[in-house]
């Protein structure tokens, strides 16, 4: 380990026999002419010259992204020493060992294009507890296994930190009106959405209450609330006025709200739960009424806070760009569309991004695309499409990102997460080069076979996304023949690995994901005609599936987040009359 000295403890000059590594920008760095001046938030200087290696970031000079020095170090370790962190835990860590480490002159000055680079990391929550209960584990066991699996021999920090995710736009986004029914419901029921049955009652789902967006008193009340929120936290740059999500209440059907919709808008499907059965019905997109509502709030809030922003959502029935209303300049759009299950949806989303980015003065990517396969954990790989699309977004106004979410299915979807993280740092990187590097760093002589493995997976999702109607990926994509092809690639990679233990462990990790995929696909196939499935067919298969989930939980919790899968999936097997072992 290289010794560390404080600046005040060193004297003289660096020499070939005693070079200096300056970490962080201090007095000595300035004296020697190393500076981060001119770099933006999260920026790094990485430079070697005159027997000095300087690794430093803008740090506290840019409080919205104060971790530049850490970024400089992890990037140096990657670029110059070949260190990689493919997935959390030791098996994902690649640390080449060298007896001699020389660093030639170089200089990198870099400021990340995206001011906010965020991938949410799914942690313990109530849904996970449902899965844990089904699998027979406790929260304490979950936390202990994850903590143990996260350890690496050389301290890496969090995987997300290693990959230089960070920075903040300093704006609150999200569903903003979860407390509104509790606050105003009794006194002002007319402020809430008129339902098809004539009621405005939101008490069944108060935290998902729908509002009467045309009501001027409601708009004024929300504006007052937002002004107070900004008064309370003057450091915030923006606060949310994004609508509530989901729930059984429908959007307001009062004539004044309906009149705000532009009849030229895209058709969307709305829902009505007020009858005996759910009724879905066609409607024009609600974006123009939303813009009316948001603009009304913005006009009032900006009188008190002209330099602050209001964060709104392009999402749900208001995902389509507005037709006739212009957005107030202090509105910031969180764009949630784009996904890889359906090529037509992808293309529409990209078109929508272009329109929204022209309509809004500020826009960022609040993406749900990582949620594909979250319930199944299947290996749905989309890295090339993502790379292409992400660069497009970055070149068309994207200020930052907020990905919902990494679900920790690393053995099957880890390559996606890796590429997403790397492109967040620098969207201009070449995706082929990233994948090639991932395979070569992690799998050495077996890299070509592993690359083919991922290419095959990506082709499967591509083919599925082009089909109409959309199949369930587990049923249509991962049949026995496909799984056997994938197995042959893993076996070939193992033969090529030359018995290298670290590579072998990484192949074990991928193979665990494939074993899971095989069982999960077989189990889903049974759901096609549950009545025709004999119990002596379903039970052994689902018992094996359950046993594999328990094994993964205990031995490789980062391979697949089985507690989350259990929450998402395990109620399905009731259709087959299956009860898991106790």
């Amino acid at each position: 380990m290289l010794p560390s000295r404080k600046e005040s403890e060193v004297s003289g000059n660096p020499t070939p026999d005693r070079p200096w590594v300056l970490i962080g920008e201090g007095v000595v760095a300035k004296q020697l002419g190393f500076t981060t001046e001119g770099l933006g938030a999260g920026g790094i200087l990485s430079q070697a010259r005159d027997h000095v290696l300087a690794l430093m970031g803008t740090d506290s000079r840019t409080p919205t992204d104060p971790n530049g020095t850490r970024y400089a170090v992890t990037r140096f370790l990657e670029d110059r020493l070949g260190v990689r962190y493919l997935w959390p835990g030791e098996s994902g860590k690649v640390v080449p060992r060298r007896a001699t480490i020389d660093v030639a002159d170089f200089e990198i000055r870099f400021t990340p294009r995206l001011a906010q680079r965020h991938i949410r990391s799914l942690g313990y929550h109530d849904r996970l507890q449902i899965g844990l209960d089904r699998l027979g584990f406790t929260r304490q066991e979950y936390e202990a296994h994850v903590a143990e699996a996260s350890k690496t021999e050389a301290a890496s920090g969090d995987w997300f930190q290693w990959h230089r995710l960070g920075g903040t736009l300093n704006m609150k986004g999200g569903h903003a009106f979860t407390q509104l029914w509790a606050k105003y419901g009794k006194e002002h029921p007319a402020w809430f959405a008129l339902q098809p049955n004539g009621s405005r009652d939101q008490s069944a789902n108060p935290d998902r209450a729908r509002l009467c967006k045309s009501n001027p008193e409601l708009i004024a009340a929300i504006a007052r609330d937002k002004i107070e929120e900004l008064n309370r936290d003057p450091g915030l740059l923006g606060v949310s006025v994004g609508p509530n999500d989901g729930g059984r209440s429908s959007f307001c059907i009062c004539p004044r709200c309906e009149a705000l919709d532009d009849p030229r808008g895209r058709e969307v499907k709305l829902w009505d739960f007020t009858g005996k059965v759910r009724r879905d019905f066609a409607h024009v997109a609600l974006t123009d009424r939303m813009v009316f509502f948001w603009n009304g709030i913005a006009e009032q809030v900006t009188k008190a806070h002209p330099d602050k922003y209001l964060v709104v959502d392009a999402y749900s029935a208001y995902e389509a760009p507005p037709v006739s209303r212009a957005l107030h300049p202090n509105l910031v759009v969180r764009f949630a569309a784009l996904g890889y299950h359906d090529e037509a949806y992808r293309q529409q989303s990209l078109h929508d991004w272009d329109d929204w980015s022209r309509a809004a003065s500020r826009i960022f990517f609040r993406s749900n695309l990582m949620l594909i396969g979250r319930r199944t954990g299947l290996p749905l790989v989309y890295v090339h499409k993502f790379g292409q699309d992400f660069r497009h977004l970055a070149d068309h106004g994207m200020l930052g990102t907020d990905f919902d979410a990494c679900c920790h299915h690393w053995a099957t979807q880890g390559l996606n997460t890796y590429v997403i993280a790397r492109l967040n740092w620098d969207p201009d990187q070449d995706v082929d080069a990233l994948i090639d590097d991932y395979c070569r760093s992690g799998f050495g002589p077996a890299a070509d076979s592993v690359c083919r493995y991922f290419t095959r997976l990506e082709a499967l999702l591509d083919a599925s996304a082009r089909q109409k109607p959309q199949p369930t990926p587990a049923l249509a994509v991962f049949g026995t023949e496909v799984v056997n092809d994938l197995r042959r690639l893993v076996e070939q990679a193992r033969a090529e690995s030359g018995g290298d233990e670290a590579i072998g462990r990484r192949l074990d990790f991928l193979e665990l994901g494939l074993n899971w995929t095989d069982l999960e696909a077989q189990a889903h196939a049974l759901l096609a005609s549950p009545a025709k499935v004999a119990p002596d067919v379903a039970k052994p298969l689902l018992d094996r599936r359950h046993a594999l989930m328990r094994e993964i939980f205990q031995k490789a919790p980062f391979a697949l987040n089985v507690a989350y899968i259990s929450w998402g999936e395990d109620a399905l097997w009731n259709r087959l009359g299956y009860q898991p072992p106790r």
């Binding site: 201090g26 070697a48 007896a99 001699t100 170089f106 870099f110 990340p112 301290a155």
Partner: protein, 85 residues
């Protein structure tokens, strides 16, 4: 608090090693030096030098120099660097 679009965002990568600008040049005596010749010279006499030997034959040679009052980021960076080099 700055406008998020108002921040400096230029990124640059600069290698300080010798490189050819793609244009044939003439020396003092007027003889043309082709790109190929420049390339050969660059390979024979690389401008890029070994600036820093961090570790030699498994033994630490460099020392880390850290500000007297390091930021949180610097503290994390030092630990990560030390454990990987």
């Amino acid at each position: 608090m700055s406008d998020p679009r108002g921040r400096p965002s230029a990124s640059s990568h600069r290698n300080t090693g010798c490189c050819c600008d793609g244009v044939d040049r003439q020396d003092a005596s007027g003889r043309r030096i082709t790109r190929l010749t420049l390339l050969c010279l660059t390979l024979l006499f690389p401008v890029s030098v070994r600036a820093v030997t961090l570790v030699a034959d498994g033994k630490p040679r460099a020392i880390l120099v850290v500000p007297d009052r390091p930021t949180t980021s610097t503290g994390q960076a030092v630990r990560i660097f030390q454990e990987h080099v």
